[in-house]
């Protein structure tokens, strides 16, 4: 009896692996995303959006007639799982392109493996610069942090003419990299940083920080982070009586931000690439159909995943499944319109470059406010983002 337990365990493992072996009748792209754990909400958004894009592609001819198939796994936002799953996707599921719908730590782990295996890879919303630095096979669809932070800096210091700025930074790679870029730009444009503080992910009590900020009397507070914390920051800021501008980033770009922050969300600016007021057909298609599919309004995380699949499909349709052809073509893409976020103008150092949007929350909705086309704002600076 006892010996059979070991055998049973062996069988279970083998079965689990066997399920993934399939015949090559479809064109497969791999997708890892956190479906369990603390990041499950973002995982769900990105997976549903990716599936939406796959359905769109298949309704419009697939990949040169063959069906596009999304093979996705839950990485629980852990780099070891991401690493093992990437190998599984590449070797067992035989995907031709890898997409990471996960955070920076798992994405970086996946990127390294894709580079070694010479499989084209792109991250969706993860911002860590090292993701594309892994090598020539690794790309980024989402906005690079230096660009997004810089856009925020221009908007705050130039457009809003804020002279005194307070920084309330989420202490992870996302918040820190955005804040760095923002700070550099804002100072260059003549603003002064009157307060700076980092808080841990998951923090819910900001009143002490906000009271200190109130004493520093800023014109604007820039608080890079995710919407859970941001909703608390914004509503507590209004509660303690702060009347200055509040500014955030794409992490706020979710209907949940407005739901949780209620009326305090009104008047908040964010840097993002999803323009909900845009009349671009793909943007509207995404927004409508995501809502139809999930009964929830779309967010930026989903938009990034949608765009990744759309772009990859376009590339596959154009040059087929040869990895070298894919990455060569990838670098030459210009003015890609079939995406939900603002058209992708080009790829610089393998990161997508697009016009940057400023949205504002008005009447409990995200609305268009401003858009940047200037090269010094939206292009990567010289020397950043590695090779």
């Amino acid at each position: 009896m006892k010996r059979y337990l070991g055998l049973a365990a062996a069988l279970m493992l083998v079965c689990g692996i066997a399920f993934s072996a399939q015949a090559q009748q479809t064109v497969k792209i791999g997708f890892i995303t956190p479906l369990t754990g603390f990041a499950a909400a973002d995982g769900y958004s990105s997976l549903e959006s990716a599936k939406l894009a796959v359905d769109y592609v298949n309704e419009h001819g697939g990949i040169k007639g063959k069906k596009l198939e999304l093979v996705s796994y839950d990485d629980a936002c852990q780099p070891d799982q991401a690493s093992a799953l990437t190998k599984k996707l590449i070797e067992n599921d035989k995907v031709v392109v890898m997409i990471s719908g996960s955070y920076s730590s798992p994405s970086r782990a996946a990127a390294v493996i894709c580079q070694q295996a010479k499989v084209p890879f792109t991250s969706t919303y993860a911002v860590h610069p090292s993701i594309v630095e892994a090598g020539e096979y690794c790309h980024r669809i989402g906005m690079a942090a230096p660009i997004q932070g810089r856009t925020g800096g221009y908007f705050a210091a130039r457009e809003l003419a804020a002279k005194r700025i307070a920084l309330l930074i989420m202490n992870n790679d996302f918040g820190v990299s955005l804040a760095e870029a923002f700070k550099e730009t804002a100072i260059k444009l003549g603003a002064q940083i009157v307060y700076e503080k980092k808080y841990p992910l998951g923090e819910t009590e900001f009143r002490s920080y906000l009271n200190a900020i109130k004493a520093a009397n800023p014109d604007l507070i820039y608080a890079p982070g995710y919407y859970n914390e941001a909703a608390n920051i914004v509503s507590q800021a209004r509660e303690v009586g702060l009347k200055c501008w509040l500014m955030g980033d794409e992490g706020y770009d979710s209907p949940k931000f407005i739901e949780l922050a209620k009326s305090a969300a009104n008047g908040v600016f964010i840097t993002t690439d999803l323009n909900r007021d845009s009349d671009r057909p793909m943007t509207q298609y995404f927004l409508k159909n995501y809502k139809k599919r999930t009964n929830i309004d779309a967010d930026m995380v989903g938009a990034s995943a949608f765009d990744a699949v759309m772009l990859v499909s376009h590339i596959l349709n154009k040059v087929g499944t040869d990895a070298n052809k894919i990455i060569q073509y990838w670098d030459t893409i210009k003015n890609f319109e079939d995406c939900a976020t603002g058209p992708i103008l080009m790829f610089q150092n393998r990161s997508a470059i697009r016009p940057m949007d400023i949205q504002i929350v008005l009447n409990n909705k995200f609305r268009y406010f401003y858009r940047y086309y200037e090269p010094e704002v939206i292009y990567l600076g010289k020397g950043s983002e590695g090779k």
């Binding site: 503080k197 009590e205 739901e259 949780l260």
Partner: protein, 284 residues
Amino acid sequence: MLQLLVDAFVLGCSYALMAVGLNMVYGLLRIIHVAHAALYTLGAYVGLYCLYHLSQSLWLSLTLGAVFPALVGALMYRIIYSPVLSAPRYVALIAGAGVFIASQEFYRLIAGPYPYPFNAQFKFLSISSSHLNVTETQMLIITFMMCAFLCLYLIINNTNLGLMWRACTQDMELAASSGININLIIAINFIIGSALAGSAGVLMALYRNSVFPTMGAMVSYKAFVVVVLGGFGSIPGAAIAGILLALAESLLGMVPFFNLPRDAIAFLVMVLVLMFKPKGLFGR
């Protein structure tokens, strides 16, 4: 400054409500009740369900958000902890951890991974003056916490039930042989502690306007710190330590450009207390 004190006090109330449940379980059974946080989150979700399906009133949410976790807590004791009381204590620890992991996934599967707003209606006192602003929610939390602790204190010190409870915390076997129904005492212990955790969940859901599956995690870690600071097994200790911790965190938050990790500092204080004054402030 007064505003800071009040805000910190409110935060401290939430810590205290969580810590007292942990303290009660530890005082009686010497188990570190890791699954306590699962009851906090359960209270919030039960309250949320009330809001969406039963009534917009906060009072019903609060009541059910306390009662339901209370029952689940007692059940938890029966099914999970009582079989392992005689085993080494890390077994109860791991069992509790398993329950906590499973519970987070359970909430996610039932309610979805997204945070929900907690739109409850209620009328309560509030203060708004130029010097001090205390919102209705804040007043509610403060009042609730003080009432809860007062009741608890009275029960423990002035009733027969409390006497029996105190006897059990000192020596279970002796208490049992004196004729006390220890199973009943333990059950009541879990019921009260879990009810407080559940109501803390509802109140914090209201305060932060958000309910999500992993909301119990950080609160429970802070609760450990509070339990240590206040002293194991001491109810007033949990209250005072909770408020002190919140106060210290808030003061630290005020210092500009000071970027040392707030949580790590709280735990450093905990380690130092454990090493040099393990009984905490009021421990026995």
